[in-house]
């Protein structure tokens, strides 16, 4: 059972209280973008083995979206941060590199 701390309401929530929302920090493409850019925005995913930045929805809690950094191999959660962040904040990156010194953020 995954367990996240919601950065909005500060509740520690089991995954049954949450709804997963897939990869985070995908740049949104709108009308006027190229077909290729729109395809990448809609469908193409990093789908990494290892650290994954992703979105979660606190469905049965405060009803807000937030971001999390999680390892897709070990299920370890490195921290959560607000949905308004356009890239992972420093304390999250630090938390990851502390435990995974060889990790590179691509």
């Amino acid at each position: 059972m995954l367990r996240f701390k919601c950065p909005v309401c500060n509740a520690v929530a089991d995954e049954t209280e949450l709804s997963p929302g897939g990869e985070a920090h995908i740049e949104r493409m709108g009308p006027g973008s190229s077909d290729d850019a729109f395809y990448k925005y809609l469908f193409e995913r990093k789908n990494p083995l290892g650290i994954h930045f992703e979105r979660w929805f606190h469905a049965y809690g405060c009803g807000k979206w937030f971001h999390a950094a999680r390892c897709t191999k070990t299920m370890e959660i490195f921290g959560t941060y607000k949905a308004q962040e356009i890239k992972p904040p420093k304390h999250i990156i630090d938390a990851i590199t502390k435990k995974r010194p060889n990790w590179k953020n691509e």
Partner: protein, 415 residues
Amino acid sequence: MKKYSAFALVKEAFNNHLGWGRAWRYAQPKKRYKVIIVGAGGHGLATAYYLGKNFGIRDVAVIEKGWLGGGNTGRNTTIIRSNYLHEESAAIYEKSRSLYETLSQELNYNIMFSPRGVMMLCQTEHELRAMKRTYYANRLFGVQTEMVSPMRMKEMIPIINTDGPRYPILGGLWQPRGGTARHDAVAWGYARAISSWGADIIENCEVTGIVREESKVASIQTTKGSIDCEKLCFVVAGSSSLLAELAGFRLPLESVALQALVSEPIKPVMDCVVMANTVHGYMSQSDKGEMVIGGGADGYNNYSQRGSFQHIEETVRALIETFPIISRLRQLRQWGGIVDMTGDRSPIISKTPVENIFLNCGWGTGGFKAIPGSGWATAELVAHGNPGKLAAPFSLARFVEGRMIDESIAAAVAH
């Protein structure tokens, strides 16, 4: 290859069964192959088989990071059906199902194909209408299915509770020639066939790098050294994104865990496969008597081959309403596999941005039933360099062109 027959069985009975030999050779990589297939699961082995059978390409290596058939081929609920809504899907899944019918004879290997029938339940008005639509579509495409009333369903499946209360059964879509097969045997049978004509199956051999020369692949680096190839084909399901990353491109895939479980064995209670899509559970009884139960996939990226406990709970809780008889059964085993989900829940059989790399992936939660047809279509793609009629709709380009084959909406659930 030693032919399996009644005569061989009698002969070996007088020989203490010492003369059977291995079903396939253990091979070490050669310097170079015409085609390298990455992934020795059902789809990869079937691709190698039809490359040899239909196109005479037998200078093939199938390499595998783990053991043969140890991924999703050995982790599914072995259901075979072809009652899909869209023409493109019905074509490839029906090709596959029809190949399954004679696969045991063709491979001289008993894959225990059991066309016991697949029943898809309609438990809401919506689902009833959607299934009728699927039924009409199936008729048009020549897939044999029929609609079944609750009363007839109760006769066919006496243990079913058609009254609800929450999800009463309003009807069913019945495919009489759907069924199950022995999943491991499918991989073993193909492996034995391709090994007999000289193709190499190399287990415990992980791809660590892909060496490109301009727009083409020249060789691959593996944990057993470097191997040259003319053509390369990725058939690695949940790990497709990782191989694509090595080759320098990305895919429209997400890898998630899908789980299944079996109960303790009981006497025969149900002689067909039942799929309850609204409540997200499906069940059949194995020849050993275990109830084989599959459920829904997790919603988040996962490579751990373990899923969330609550999904098992949800599946079982839902099935108990429809099958009260199973409520006291104990769970024998539970396991997970990593499936590669596309946005439209249809597979990808396609060329890639790299000229001589081909791709077979994206089968998501429903790959087992497709093994022969998928191998057939992928072999055609690899041999000719261009997709044939079966594979063409499933290209990567469909995502750019918006030409989806949307089975996620059509089936409510993809299996």
